[in-house]
Symmetry: C2
Subunit: 285 residues, 2 copies
């Protein structure tokens, strides 16, 4: 016979998000794929970016090709707008001996959601019919349009463009402030920073319009952008990311939706997709 | 007889948010009240904070008193957590000749919404029954509970605390990342930074747990916190803030909800309260 807890018995309190990560199993985590990982090297150190081939395969192939052609070496971060984006690549500058940059076809959304993993949030979202996580990335879906896309959360990597949709091709921006969700489906998001965000977020703000640096000498040098797979194993970081297709991840979301740490007096009962940065840690073996 | 536009006629396109500000009238703006304005002076320059007496009168009175007692002079910013908060004041440190810090009563919400100006958003919000703007601040309301509160957007000023609700009293934090809305109604928000956010957002991140600086010498000195009214007029900044109770402000919200700049291909049709930073500019006369 199954009975409920007797008087005086207590059910275990809901675990906190930290406890869920502590108790997680090894296979709740996945290593970064070095073929889809970029190292952006700045004077302050390395920024590690995970690329999203399931959402923007052409943009991923394009930036890997450019990195392998050393396109970004001798380039700069030339725009830092507070509470918005850092932007680099400097496509307008011709560098001797480097190929002419060209635009590539926009991948604002991915057509076809069948077969795309998606851990949806039950929480409603104002900007999209559905939000959740796909292959480790904050994402949204519109089943009626059979489309999915990555959303502009803190750390999202996107392709700057002019007015024409296909006008971007070489540069990149990273969100350093409150999620500019109005950019969703207006620009191609093709990755996210998984480590080193502070190296971008602390860069001096540009004082010209839109955060561009007023003087060329204020631009922040990019030492290089490399595909992790091209580096010897000893020079790679060894990070792993919490998988977003597991029961552990769903528990972690619930613990963030309703915070049970003693500090909280009022659990929110709600969480939005950009308030759920997917955990990253040093690899354990 | 009233007729619709004939073929070939065009209705005026909806103005952009920039156009709305350009066309705004002088009385769409209000000067900062120097009695409710703080100047936080750092090595890098001035951070200007507007206080919110209509939401947290005791916290406003308290920080003004402490500023006038020069409590913050010789103190520091001792915590900078990426995508979260900077925190300063250092209440745990006894400074010779300064009064013992003490906790003040929490003002997580304001009871009583009658008489409180509120320009509500039609857009739904996950964290609160209603969001909008009150006296220039991003705010939320729960009519059923007859309560209103300030929300944790980028730049919000809050009172750190221990587990007990009334345990904060001297220190302060400012949001430097994506809006941590789960903190709403768990902490007292009593102002916001209106100028100089970049001086806080670019501070070096602390490497100890929760972004605390690992070494005391890493702490960032606070030169002073002053009430603007206590400075000679010549040493005050002359800022004005877009009023949030006008038709102009409602038009500005609509222009941000549905961006009509040619760059945008897909207006979002939605905007959330923290994606509407209230415009501030140099005073014009």
């Amino acid at each position: 016979m199954v009975v409920g807890p007797a008087a005086g018995q207590q059910t275990a309190p809901a675990p906190t998000s930290a406890e869920i990560l502590e108790r997680s199993a090894a296979d709740d985590w996945r290593p970064l794929d070095p073929e889809h990982t970029l190292y952006l090297e700045l004077a302050s150190g390395r920024v590690i970016i995970e690329l999203a081939p399931s959402f923007a395969p052409n943009h991923v192939a394009n930036i890997k090709r450019l990195a392998r052609e050393t396109f970004y070496d001798r380039r700069t971060i030339y725009r830092v707008q507070d509470n918005y984006v850092v932007q680099g690549g400097e496509a307008e500058v011709r560098v001797e001996g480097q190929a002419e940059p060209r635009g590539i076809r926009a991948e604002f959304t991915r057509k076809g959601i069948a077969g795309l993993p998606f851990t949806g949030l039950s929480d409603r979202d104002g900007y999209a019919p559905e939000t959740g996580f796909s292959n480790g990335f904050a994402a949204a879906r519109d089943p009626a349009a059979d489309a999915a896309w990555l959303v502009h959360c803190y750390g999202a990597l996107g392709m700057p463009r002019d007015e024409a949709p296909d006008s971007g091709g070489t540069d990149f921006y990273v969100v350093i402030g409150h999620a500019p969700r109005h950019l969703d489906r207006n620009v191609t998001v093709f990755g996210r920073v998984v480590q080193g965000m502070e190296r971008l977020a602390t860069l001096p703000r540009g004082t010209a319009a839109l955060g561009f640096y007023a003087q060329p000498e204020q631009r922040q040098p990019i030492q290089s952008v490399r595909v992790a797979a091209d580096l010897p194993a000893a020079e790679r970081d060894r990070l792993e990311v919490l998988r977003t297709d597991t029961a552990t991840f769903r528990q972690w979301i619930e613990a963030r939706r309703n915070r049970r740490e003693p500090w909280f007096h009022l659990p929110a009962g709600y969480v939005e997709v950009c308030n759920l940065p997917v955990p990253v840690r040093e690899r354990r073996e």
